[in-house]
Amino acid sequence: MKTSMDFRSVRLAAGLVLLLSAVLSLGSLLPQQGVFSVSPFVVTIVGKYLSYAFLALAIDLVWGFAGILTLGHAAFFALGGYAMGMYLTREIGARGVYGNAHLPDFMVFLSWSDLPWYWMGSEHFAVSVLLVLLVPGALAALFGWLAFRSRVSGVYLSIITQALTFALMLAFFQNGLGFGGNNGLTDFKDVLGFDLHQARTRAALLALTGVFLAGSLMLARWVVSGRFGRLLVAVRDAESRTRFMGYRPDHAKLLVWILSAMIAAVGGAFYVLQVGIINPGEFTPGNSIEAVIWVAVGGRGTLSGAVLGAVLVNFGKTLFTAWMPEFWLYGLGFLFIATTLFLPCGLVGLVGSMGGRAGRNARTDPTPELVEPGRDEE
């Protein structure tokens, strides 16, 4: 696979993300029925797309640059969502259906008398933000350490990532685990004292999602554009060769894997804040596979393509499921096949090959006249 080490499109994507989220959140504050006013529905749905874009970006980081085809990345997204959901659940306090100030509704319903130990600290926003990063990060560290150290790669790794998210899904469906069983966590009221149903809170959340997504894009760009990024590509294309150069490819993969899990988790946290529910359905293996399709459609190994793919495919899904819901999965499958056959570098690759030929790409692109047998005269 070719990777142009030229990431101008990432800055452009980060700028567009900021612009989109700023315009929409400002527009939602204008009086409704105005020309430029944006409906609350649009704010929520775009917030959801941008949250998914974190997941896509996280997948592109490991799949596009380290060659790890993860089919279970939504697990980290969902764990981040649950960590934020726990905080939001605690914020409900005595306003729940049962009016219990100490226990979430579902625990009252299960006639539990105390909070389980792992809910300790979840009433603090700062602790919850740390948990959003640390829980998925720790799981990724453990999983990655075991898998990469044993040199599990390719399809086998993809299969165990599926197993990971499937196992988590089954676990979270259990009422006894203490995360609300199949209902998950929902019915949130406010965050840091701000009413989640107010237009201003929702506008601020969308704007923040945009800022963090743009920041994650730039962080990912920094990671892959330096020397570490070159090592990742080397590991992706010829892993054993890097070992004979003294590198430990498992360490390189582990580092990017943990970082990627954390980016996905931040997306999950923003998802819960805006969509207002997290349940075990988010761990469904299909979700992770769908996210891989977003990346493929947008353009693997480009970072910006991941964000573009996540937003466009989900926009398509919103339209399609309103119009003829039963055909969405066929549409998605067709999209994936069409991308694989006709757009191997995704939408970003298409734009790049139309516009960028004469630009800086030419410098690193192998052009036929430079490929000659033998060596030129010294």
Partner: protein
């Protein structure tokens, strides 16, 4: 005396599914020496390199490098001790530029975490420029390695080995698929490299081995058949037997 050897394989054996690829092999190399290893297909040449570089663990015997036992180390550790390897099939990182291939190979940190924060220093730039001149790829610096010709990839890989600056280079069939002119240039390059590094070259091409002008070890069925100058070795009836038919 025994600690004076740079590389010392003694009584090494390895078996794959009942097939003895290496059979009680004893092979020694002095510091600064270049040695050519020849032998028919299946003689165990590549397996010998796999053992030295940690890819294959021998069933028995010892492999010492500067007095240090290698058999308990993995590939990255052995590479860091100063053994570089060039594979038979050129393996360069095709999606990276010629420059970046050399940059990754340069002796320096191997910690991914530290590499996150590293930017190329002027000193590294100079070392890369020097290497590019030595392997004749200065004009190709910004080209993707995947766009190089076969021979150029072979040189890039030798350049990457030099960038690693190992004490010992293991070079597996460097001239396979090269033209005669390229073959002779490669022999010059290796002789030049040998002025500062110890080298083991595995090669079939007898003209190339003659051009190197170094001692030859003939492997057969996993052990040493004979050693000496090319003329002496090629006059040995056992060698002629092995090469011309059994």
């Amino acid at each position: 005396m025994s600690e004076d050897w740079l590389l010392d394989l003694s009584h090494v054996s390895v078996t794959f599914d009942g097939f003895r690829a290496i059979n009680d092999l004893t092979l020694r190399l002095r510091p600064g020496e270049m040695r050519a290893i020849v032998g028919p297909n299946g003689a165990g040449k590549t397996t010998m390199m796999d053992i030295v570089t940690g890819k294959t663990r021998p069933d028995c015997g010892s492999v010492r490098f500067r007095g240090q036992e290698l058999t308990r180390f993995d590939e990255p550790t052995i590479a860091r001790l100063g053994i570089g390897r060039k594979f038979q099939k050129p393996t360069v990182f095709e999606a990276l530029s010629v420059h970046d291939n050399l940059l990754l190979a340069l002796r320096g940190t191997r910690s991914p975490l530290r590499m996150l924060f590293l930017r190329e220093t002027p000193d590294e730039g100079e070392r890369i420029a020097g290497l590019l001149g030595r392997i004749g790829l200065t004009a190709r610096e910004r080209l993707l390695a995947g766009a190089l010709s076969h021979g150029q990839k072979q040189w890039l890989e030798i350049g990457m080995l030099l960038a690693q600056d190992p004490r010992l280079l293991l070079v597996d069939e460097p001239v396979a698929g090269m033209t005669d002119a390229e073959t002779m240039q490669t022999a010059d390059l290796l002789r030049d490299i040998n002025t500062s590094h110890s080298v083991i070259v595995v090669e079939h091409d007898m003209d190339f081995v003659r051009a190197l002008g170094v001692d030859v070890t003939v492997l057969h069925e996993g052990s040493v058949l004979t050693e000496g100058t090319l003329d002496r070795v090629s006059a040995d009836p056992r060698v002629i037997d092995v090469y011309l038919g059994r």
